[in-house]
Every structure is written in structure tokens, then in C-alpha cells.
Symmetry: D2
Subunit: 178 residues, 4 copies
């Protein structure tokens, strides 16, 4: 997809996005990147270290907006490449249903998931990646942790906006919540 | 929720909604209303008869937009009441994950689901209703059909915009696709 | 179902069940009983207090074997009535798929779920109950706890055989893991 | 796993399996093998041509018993290798939950799924395969069909025991039922 097409179809000016964000919930996709063994079991979870919308530095999963006229699978691939690079080789599930839906609100007491910029409805997937993951410009680091490490108190406190809970839901879905 | 609050939080003028619809995907919820027996098995599916966005009269399921700052469960209840009346007694599932996600596009060849007004991302649920369902003003009729009847060729041709496929996915999810 | 019919269809002598248990995995169903609000959100989880196969007294969910020629929905209803009484009014989900599958083994280091009697494959469901729950003869008590209470360290230590993990998976599936 | 170990753990004599089959439901796993594109979408479904328990020749999916003390993931891999060969490179989903559960009974009017040998509870998965699939000795042929072809009337009539319905549920789960 060329930049030109993207502009026509999905990208908004900063002004436009601000107007829209105050009027309707915004569709997001999130992907919990995982490494799996040859029987499909999760061995490691990939956590990005990056600046969050609320200004904190937090461990988080891959996340991004779905553009106008963009398919969900395209949005997932695009955002995974944005955060993990173009050699990550993500294996999207054949089922299009997210394992959970998370609702982000500007104020934290509504759902426990916060985004000061907007009301977002986020479709969350667990996505095995088989290739080489390289942090992109906006990402400070990618850490690969075992499920036990990822759900440890030390890592939990490094996750804001509800990302620690989202990660626990993902591990539970895959039967590997400690 | 008072009208005043709704205006502040979620309702848009016709002009605003037109602007937004051309810029971002819009979040929808859809509910397939069902009657179940005392073991939870679907005995009947409720299909509305109503005017569709494309001008056709079609059998369809409950459908509506998620408003700004509205929770998904609130949007489901509100839209079920809008289409089935306030005595329908819907039993929302305890799991917040939709059974499928459907992507509507203005042109039909993208996903097979069409909405000439907008790009919509729709979270679809199967919702047992236990009360009295009365067609609202916008609904011409509600028909209760067995799974076999609902998936028959006669009923299929009465469903436009991909609603027949959506219904088959719902029946399959519940193990009762003929 | 009369005792006569049950004998013919599913009940085994103690000797027979011992022979079978050493040869094939046994099919179980488990139900996490919950109270939900009028939007389907879990408000309370029901935990039984009962003797476990390993001799411990543990908080646990509804559990039981699927009999020969018994449907899964019948087995769920029968075991819920066994543990919660015949007035519990369980609302089985319309989807027949369990939210998770748990594998019990005699030795605990295989899967983290243990049953000294057998290798069991357990299909686990979250089941809202709307009626009156009364502990049956084999159950010492039923406690109704909020999700936060149910996942607290105090309650976790009262659960053996992996039941605390199973409960966390259920809460996560419903989006209400703290 | 050596043959010796398998004998000790899971394999039964023909006499033993006959006794067990008349007393308890038997745990099965089934896998619908699929080819997916680089966005995870199903492009083809693999259907085996083989003799069924009822004596018919039928198109069917990968199927097999779970052995005593065998993990579900091991059983899936073992049965996929049995039917598709050891170079099939199956990618098991990271979530252990089957997309549906099918109940086979000796008589066909109970559930629509039949197996004259036994009452079986089958956990069914959609499994992408990336390698070379070669029909094993018990398999006459493997055909790779598009979702449209696989759900066509011509192919449906070649599937007995409820396998055509099971396939439709799988396609629906992945959003690609025509």
C-alpha cells in the first residue's frame, strides 16, 4: 500500500484525529507477541518498552489504530511490523475473533484500562512470531520473558494503563497463567 | 441515561456523524437473539424485518453503534431494547468476547459484508432473550425461526448485506448449523 | 432418568471404574457457578467446600464424570444439581465449547492439575445460576465470593489440585481477573 | 516415545478397548488441516479419503484417540503425523481450547455425529500445516480444497458420520463459511 493510498484511505491530520477522538470510540488492535515450541505452547512473551499515551514508560504489547478501509488482519500485520520490524514473521490465527476485547477510557475508574487520548475499543490477539524482532524507532526495547516472569510482581509494576491485566488475560487464554 | 447525558457523551449531529464516517471505522455491536431450552440449546432464532442502510428490506439481527464513552454491554442492552422492546430480558454472556467480528465496507467485494454508509467493525454476540419481544417503530416484524428454518434457502434470500452469512456463523458457533 | 436406566447407560461398579481408569483418560465436565448482574457481568463466584480425591478439604468448582451415552449438557446439569441442588436454575451457555480444557494427571508435575485416581480430560464452563443453591450431602459449604475475594491469597491457599488456577482462567475469560 | 512406553501407558489390546468402549465415553482429538496465507487466512482445507468406522469411504479430517497419560497436544501431533506424515509441520494453536466439541454416538439420531464403535467426545481444532503432507498407509488420498469447494454439495455427499457438518463449523469459526 503506497503512502498516497494510505493518506487517501486512512491517515488523518492531527486536527482531524482530535475531532474524531472526542466523538466516537476508536477501533484498535493489540497483539501479544509470543514464541511457541513445536507443540504450540508459549515459551516466551514479548514485551515492548515504550512511552505510553499517559506519559509513562511502560512494558506493553503491540498496539495500533485500525485505519479507515483497512482490514483487521492488515492492521495487525502493519502494527506488528511497526513495533517489531518487518522480519518478525507473525503467524496470525486463522480465526478472526480476538481472544478478548478491552475498552480503554480517558478516566481509569470505568474499566481499569486507560488511554488519556480517547475511548478505544481494542481487539486483542495472541500472535506467535517466528522471525527476528527488532525494536522500531518508537520502541526502546523488546524483552522476551517466560510466562512466569511476565506475570511476576517485578514486571507487573512496570506496566501501566492496564497492560499487566491484559497480559494476564492472554496467558490465561493460552492456559499458561501461573 | 438521560437524553441530555446522551447528547453530551455519544450522540452526534447528522453532519458530525457523516464527517466521522468518512474518516475512521465505526464500532458496532450486533446481537443474534435466540430462545433456548432448559439445557441452553437454541430452539429459535429471532430475525427482525427492517429497512437496511442500502434501501432493501431484509431479515436481520439486532445492530447498532457503540456511543462515545459507552460500555459494550450498555450498547448491547440499549440496542436490544431499541429493536426488541424493554421487556425482552436479554441474558448477555458473562464472557465479553464476541463470537465473531464482522467487517462492513461500503463496497461488497472486500469482505462480503456491506454497509453503504460506512466502514464498520462489528462485534457479534449470541444473546438469549427470556421475555416478551415487541418490534419497535423501526422494525416491521420479528420472526422466530428454528435453526433449520433460519438457514433455509427461502429465508437466506430475504437477508441482504451478508446477514445470512453472519447468521450461519452464529448457528455454527452454537453447534446447531444444519 | 431412573436408576435402572442410569445403570444400563453409564454407572459402573467400583471394580469396573478402577479397571477403566487405568486404561483411558476419563471425560469430565466442570462448571464455575457464578452470579451475574443484569448486564451479564460476574458479581460473585460460587466455591464449594468439599473433600477432594487426594484427601484434602478444598474450595472447588462443580465437577463430575460424563457417563456412557450421556450428552455433555445433561452431564453439566446433573453435576450442577448434585453439588448445588435442584433449585439452582443453571443457565448453560448456548455455545457447547468449554472456555478451557484442563488435563488432570495422577502426578502433579505433568500439567499442574492433579487427580490421584485418574487421567481426566475436563471440559470447563462458566455457568450463571439464578436460583437457590443448597450444598448437597457431599458438599460441606458453598461460599459466594466476589472475583477479587476469590482470587485473593487467602482463598487461593484453600484450593488444591490446581482449582485456584482453573478459577483464575475462568475469571480471565470473563474479563474480570483482578 | 518408544513402543514399549506406549504399550505401558496408552495402547490397549483389542479386547481391552472393546470392554472400555462399552463403559465410558472415549476422548478423541480431531484436526482440520488448513493452508493459510501470510495474513493467516485459510486458503485450502485438507480432506483425507479413508475408510470410516461405519464401513463407508468418506472424506474426513484428522482424527484419533487420546491415550492414557498422553497430553492433548501430544495426541494432536501424533495423529496429524499418522494421517499426514512426519513432514506436515503442523502449527498447533497457542490456545488449548478446541473451537468446538463434537459428541459421537453409535446411533445417529442423538447428535448427528455417528461412530458405530463407541461414544466419543471429540475436541476439534483447526491446525495450519506448513510442510509436505503425504497420505499414510490408512489414508487413500489427501485433497486440498478451497473453502467454497469443501462446502460444495459435491464434496458434502462424500462425507459421512457428520464430517461435513464438522467441516462447516470449522469454516464458520474462521469466518470463511461461504
Amino acid at each position: 500500500m503506497s503512502d498516497q493510498t494510505e493518506t487517501q484511505q486512512g491517515w488523518l491530520t492531527n486536527e482531524e484525529i482530535e475531532i474524531v477522538r472526542g466523538r466516537v470510540p476508536i477501533v484498535y488492535v493489540e497483539a501479544v507477541p509470543v514464541r511457541v515450541d513445536d507443540q504450540g505452547r508459549i515459551t516466551q512473551v514479548g514485551l515492548l518498552l515504550q512511552a505510553m499515551p499517559d506519559g509513562t514508560i511502560s512494558r506493553s504489547v503491540v498496539s495500533g489504530r485500525v485505519l479507515y478501509r483497512e482490514r483487521l488482519r492488515e492492521a495487525l500485520i502493519r502494527n506488528i511490523e511497526k513495533d517489531l520490524g518487518s522480519l518478525a514473521l507473525p503467524k496470525l490465527p486463522s480465526c478472526p475473533t480476538p481472544f478478548t476485547v478491552v475498552e480503554y477510557f480517558p478516566n481509569g475508574d470505568v474499566s481499569g484500562y486507560t488511554d488519556p487520548r480517547q475511548h478505544a475499543v481494542s481487539l486483542v490477539y495472541v500472535v506467535p512470531v517466528e522471525g527476528i524482532c527488532e525494536p522500531s524507532k518508537a520502541t526502546l526495547d523488546i524483552a522476551w520473558l517466560t510466562p512466569e516472569e511476565a506475570d511476576s510482581p517485578e514486571v507487573r509494576v512496570e506496566m501501566t494503563s492496564g497492560q499487566d491485566r491484559l497480559l494476564r488475560l492472554a496467558l490465561a487464554h493460552c492456559g499458561c497463567l501461573p
